[in-house]
């Protein structure tokens, strides 16, 4: 009967260890000096110059600047695509709101679900802010697109051999080495976009709302959404009407990372199960000589 006693002992140890508290996830390392962009939608006039500058900076297309004068595009709500990392949508005035133009692009989350989901670490959160993508690592599973809280990444489905996930880079080639601002910020004729330290931008946003409470609704979109984002918006129209998703203050990655780490940290869960099953296997062996 020794085997049975052994089995019970191991089973006991295994169960006690299994109920130990799971370690919650803290998200990626962030620099306190990290930057971001503040978009003041009340200043945006929908000139789409940012779309043109973005296409040029990222070598996405080479339409002349006049091409972007066309306001017909506002008839349909648009989303970023593989060749347009940013698009401006126009929302006509309604009984409760004024006409608003709203730029859409990757929000560069502080704790991005896409980075947490990426199977090979092709997507990374830079401590300074940008969520970067390394196509050479990517296996093309598109789990980032499933995970993205804001439904931003676009995929090159037409490309049979080397498709990439495409999204705003926050012009990380310039912004990370301090040689410049994002192309959209640089070109904006109305200075609706402000590039700077995220903590400073938050202060500016709150200041503008405080000084002009009639002009703005009291909400900095991106301050807390999904755990905070590098891009933040202030507006005179409710963000729900501008088709920005209503998301909680916690990154969805927190839940999945807590589950994952709870079960798999140090392979403790699987190893305990292995031990438990091994003990069962031994204890329940119907060997006549074992008594």
């Amino acid at each position: 009967m020794t085997t049975r006693r052994e089995f019970l002992k191991i089973a006991g140890v295994a169960t006690t260890t299994m109920v130990l508290p799971a370690q919650a996830s803290n998200g990626p390392h962030l620099d306190s000096e990290r930057f971001g962009v503040l978009a003041d939608l009340t200043l945006c006039i929908g000139c789409r110059k940012c779309e043109w500058a973005c296409a040029g900076a990222n070598e996405l297309s080479s339409y002349p600047i006049e091409y972007y004068d066309d306001t017909c595009v506002f008839e349909k709500y648009r989303r970023p695509t593989t060749t347009e990392y940013t698009v401006v949508n126009r929302f006509p005035a309604s009984e409760t709101s004024v006409q608003t133009d709203a730029k859409v692009q990757c929000m560069h989350c502080e704790h991005p679900a896409c980075v947490s989901a990426c199977i090979v670490g092709a997507l990374q959160k830079d401590p300074m802010g940008p969520v970067t993508y390394d196509a050479d690592k990517c296996i093309g599973c598109r789990y980032c697109m499933v995970a993205c809280t804001f439904q931003v990444p676009a995929y090159e489905y037409l490309n049979a051999t080397t498709p990439q996930v495409r999204k705003c880079t926050l012009c990380s080639d310039k912004t990370l080495n301090g040689s410049g601002k994002p192309a959209c910020v640089e070109i904006c004729p109305r200075e609706a976009l402000t590039f700077g330290k995220r903590s400073e931008l938050l202060k500016i946003a709150e200041q503008r709302i405080r000084r002009n409470p009639d002009r703005y609704i009291d909400h900095v979109y991106g301050e807390k959404e999904a755990g905070g984002t590098s891009w933040m918006m202030i507006s005179g129209t409710d963000f729900k009407e501008l088709k920005f998703p209503e998301v909680g203050d916690e990154s969805p990655a927190v839940v999945t990372e807590t589950i994952q780490h709870g079960i798999f940290r140090g392979f403790s869960g699987p190893l305990m199960l292995l031990g438990l099953l091994g003990a069962t296997m031994k204890a329940m062996k119907k060997d006549p000589s074992d008594g």
């Binding site: 996830s25 709500y77 989303r79 695509t81 679900a113 980075v115 947490s116 989901a117 990426c118 199977i119 090979v120 670490g121 690592k137 990517c138 296996i139 093309g140 599973c141 598109r142 789990y143 697109m145 499933v146 995970a147 809280t149 804001f150 439904q151 990444p153 676009a154 995929y155 090159e156 489905y157 037409l158 490309n159 049979a160 080397t162 498709p163 990439q164 088709k243 998703p245 998301v247 909680g248 969805p252 990655a253 839940v255 999945t256 990372e257 589950i259 994952q260 780490h261 079960i263 798999f264 869960g269 699987p270 199960l273 292995l274 099953l277 091994g278 069962t280 296997m281 329940m284 119907k286």
Partner: protein, 406 residues
């Protein structure tokens, strides 16, 4: 009862039948879709877009395929871990289905991957991404496929030890190959227990992690399914699925190959299925109550209808049926009951990955392209053909003892 033991199929059923030809045609069609995908890209053969990055190749080929291949680890657990020897007859067929099921789930992923040639990145420690649920699924499935092939080795040894007879110029290799098989047989005898245990652990790990996959998209997955306990629900349903599939396969194989249904084993195994289903259903119910989403059951939507189908046809009905000894004793009614369980599992996985998935900015809903369906059907056909081939060659199914060997 006649003495039986596993042996290559010897009932006189021909390998090629009308049905086999249909499967071959479907298999070839599926492969042509695969070739088209390789040359012309995903957009050419799928209806996937930026709103719906995952379609039936993930929902059915991978998620459902893996759930239905759960017979491998559940029967291994019964027969080898808790030594319920009477279920031995089910282990080999289930192992074979699991082996091919996982192989094709992995192939399904590769077809769906934009950069399939980078799949090996998942094995590179420098690219390991411990936060990713998909990484956990990927690495576990890769290891489990390996374990399954290792678990199959003893069957190869048993069949060919002392009988290696290679054709033509390869005849010279007969002796070395035979030695190798004998060597493997000795080694495997020592380590097989470890691999069986590892297989059960790896299965529990990735069956549950498959459920965690959609937890990261709370805004897009319908509240009837989106829950932090999805991994637990996937694991619990995989247990029921495994036993139901083992029963299903055994009965279908008996029919297809002219064997006597192993009803004396299956009716005992069948007792466990309603228990597992009740546990699964209970967990599902508690979760719904906990999350306060019961009112959604009365919502007039495709989602709520699909949820009702999932629980009534796939869980409640087979539970009631299988609780009856009379129904479990009759091969026809038993087959019908376990088919409902299998159907319920398929519907559940499709629900979680496709029906429940509501992207934020979709202007149309995802319906698979005919080519997507054809590839899925083609892969399933290849799987069945391989199973058929293997039971003709290897000692998988229980045959009545015969005087002379094959």
């Amino acid at each position: 009862m006649a003495n039986t033991r596993p042996a290559p199929l010897n009932t006189g059923v021909p390998f090629l039948t009308k049905g086999t030809w249909v499967l071959i045609i479907l298999a070839v069609s599926g492969i042509s879709v695969l070739i088209a995908r390789l040359f012309f890209g995903l957009s050419f053969v799928t209806n996937l877009d930026d709103q719906y990055p995952w379609g039936i190749w993930i929902a059915i080929d991978v998620a459902t395929g893996v759930a239905l291949a759960a017979g491998g680890f559940t029967t291994a657990f019964l027969a080898h871990v808790i030594h319920a020897h009477r279920y031995h007859a089910l282990v080999r067929p289930a192992l074979l289905t699991a082996m091919f099921g996982y192989t094709f789930a992995a192939l399904g992923v590769c077809v769906d991957l934009g950069r399939y040639y980078n799949i090996w990145h998942v094995m590179l420690p420098s690219m390991w991404q411990g936060n990713s649920v998909l990484f956990e699924v990927g690495i576990c499935v890769m290891m489990y496929v390996t374990v399954l092939y290792i678990e199959f080795l003893p069957i190869v040894c048993e069949r060919f030890c002392g009988r290696v007879n290679l054709p033509g110029i390869f005849a010279k290799l007969n002796k070395p190959v035979d030695n190798l098989l004998h060597f493997l047989q000795r080694i495997m005898h020592k380590f097989i227990s470890f691999f069986i245990l590892a297989g059960v652990v790896l299965s529990c790990a990735h069956q549950s992690s498959l459920g965690s996959l959609m937890v990261i998209a709370p805004g897009k997955v319908h509240q009837l399914w989106h829950s932090p306990v999805l991994p637990l629900l996937f694991l619990l349903s995989a247990f029921a699925s495994g036993l139901a599939m083992a029963t299903f396969e055994s009965l279908v194989a008996a029919k297809a190959f002219g064997l006597k249904p192993e009803i004396h084993i299956l009716r005992r195994l069948g007792r466990f299925i309603p228990i597992l289903l009740i546990v699964y259903f209970g967990a599902k119910l508690i979760d719904l109550v906990n999350r306060d989403v019961l009112p959604l059951l009365l919502e007039n939507s495709v989602q709520s209808i699909m949820f009702w189908i999932e629980i009534t046809v796939g869980i409640v009905a087979p539970t009631i049926l299988l609780l009856s000894e009379k129904i479990r004793q009759n091969p026809a009614t038993l087959l019908f009951s376990v088919s409902l369980v299998v159907f319920g599992i398929i519907i559940n996985r499709v629900n979680v990955f496709i029906i429940a998935y509501k992207p934020l900015y979709a202007d149309k809903i995802y319906v698979p392209a005919w080519t997507e369906v054809l590839l899925t059907v083609g892969f399933m056909s290849i799987l069945i053909l391989l199973y058929r081939t293997y039971v003709f060659i290897f000692p998988i199914l229980e045959m009545e003892e015969q005087g002379s060997d094959v």
